[in-house]
């Protein structure tokens, strides 16, 4: 009887350890698997951050959002592709750091899904994919 319960307890412990180990090693979710929290136009997103950053942070910070807009620039730096959306007035844009290299033409209208990490001179989106 004691032997049996010892066995059960050790198996349970092993399972717990295994679950814990997996949770600890779990990688950051791919954006494709995340539920979209907000859909917004690039221009609107930029205006919202420019006029009231605090309010915009509450709405978008760390959220998975789908941003639609016109590609104004595509840049490659050290293997990382950045797609700029809606950067016609002044210097600001919505900068989308892509998950992998993409092939989009300047001037085309696209929808990008990514995680909004906030606003510096531009609105920054990371882990982005094109829908």
């Amino acid at each position: 009887m004691r032997k049996k319960s010892f066995l059960v307890i050790s198996i349970l412990l092993l399972i717990l350890l295994f679950i814990g180990y997996n949770m600890y090693n779990k990688e950051v979710d791919k954006v494709a698997d995340l539920k979209t929290d907000q859909k917004v136009e690039a221009k609107t997103l930029l205006t919202e951050f420019e006029s009231d950053e605090l309010a915009a942070n509450k709405l978008y910070l760390d959220k998975t959002i789908e941003v639609s807009g016109m590609v104004t620039k595509v840049e490659e730096n050290e293997g990382i592709t950045s797609v700029y959306l809606a950067s016609e007035e002044g210097l600001s844009a919505v900068i989308c750091q892509m998950e992998e290299a993409v092939n989009v033409a300047v001037g085309s209208e696209i929808v990008v899904k990514g995680v909004c990490s906030g606003y510096l001179m531009d609105v920054i989106m990371v882990r982005c994919i094109i829908l």
Partner: protein
């Protein structure tokens, strides 16, 4: 007559210096900021490639900003703890540096070469400001400018608390590396 000449000279001066100012500002929007901390169980590291910086070569004024939530980790749990427990990045979304390159006169970003820079200023992390001084390097080659710097920060200086359970497992200092291309800012 005298007045007109004076005015003309003034306008000329403004034009000339104005042009110079515009022509000497450099910026990046793809600055790489990474940090590294050695811990007994495993090393903690993360990188952001979306740092912003403006450098005014006329007076050496330098500004940097990076979004805390743009740091990418491999492990989801680490990223979550970093944002929620340590950096509280919803409340403090940015880290900023405002300062100067103290020996800017010895650096010519228009001429190929390797330059050592002394940087000093105020670093703001987690809503707390602290004066820092560090060295940086500018590498100018064929019109391309790459700036690099490595320095250490102490978590306690920025009010970043380490829970007592993991106190011995997490290093009290973190090494920060900066790498950035600078481009000439032509649209002002």
């Amino acid at each position: 007559m005298m007045m007109i000449i004076k005015k003309m000279i003034f306008i000329l001066l403004v034009l000339v210096s104005g042009n110079q100012l515009v022509a000497q500002k450099y910026f990046t929007k793809k600055g790489e900021v990474s940090f590294f901390s050695h811990a007994p169980m495993e090393d903690i590291k993360a990188v952001s490639n979306t740092g912003s910086s403006v450098l005014d070569a006329a007076n050496g004024k330098l500004q940097w900003a990076v979004l805390i939530k743009s740091f990418a980790f491999t492990k989801a749990l680490m990223q979550e703890h970093f944002n929620e427990n340590y950096m509280e990045s919803t409340q403090f979304p940015k880290a900023k540096f405002t300062g100067t390159i103290d020996n800017m006169t010895a650096i010519d970003l228009k001429k190929d070469g390797e330059y050592n820079a002394q940087v000093s200023g105020v670093l703001e992390i987690h809503g707390k400001e602290k004066k820092i001084a560090t060295n940086a390097k500018f590498l100018v080659a064929k019109g391309k400018i790459i700036a690099t710097s490595v320095f250490k920060v102490y978590l306690a200086d920025y009010g970043i608390e380490i829970p007592s359970v993991v106190k011995d497992k997490i290093a009290k200092e973190v090494e920060i590396s900066i790498k950035s291309n600078y481009e000439l800012l032509d649209k002002m």
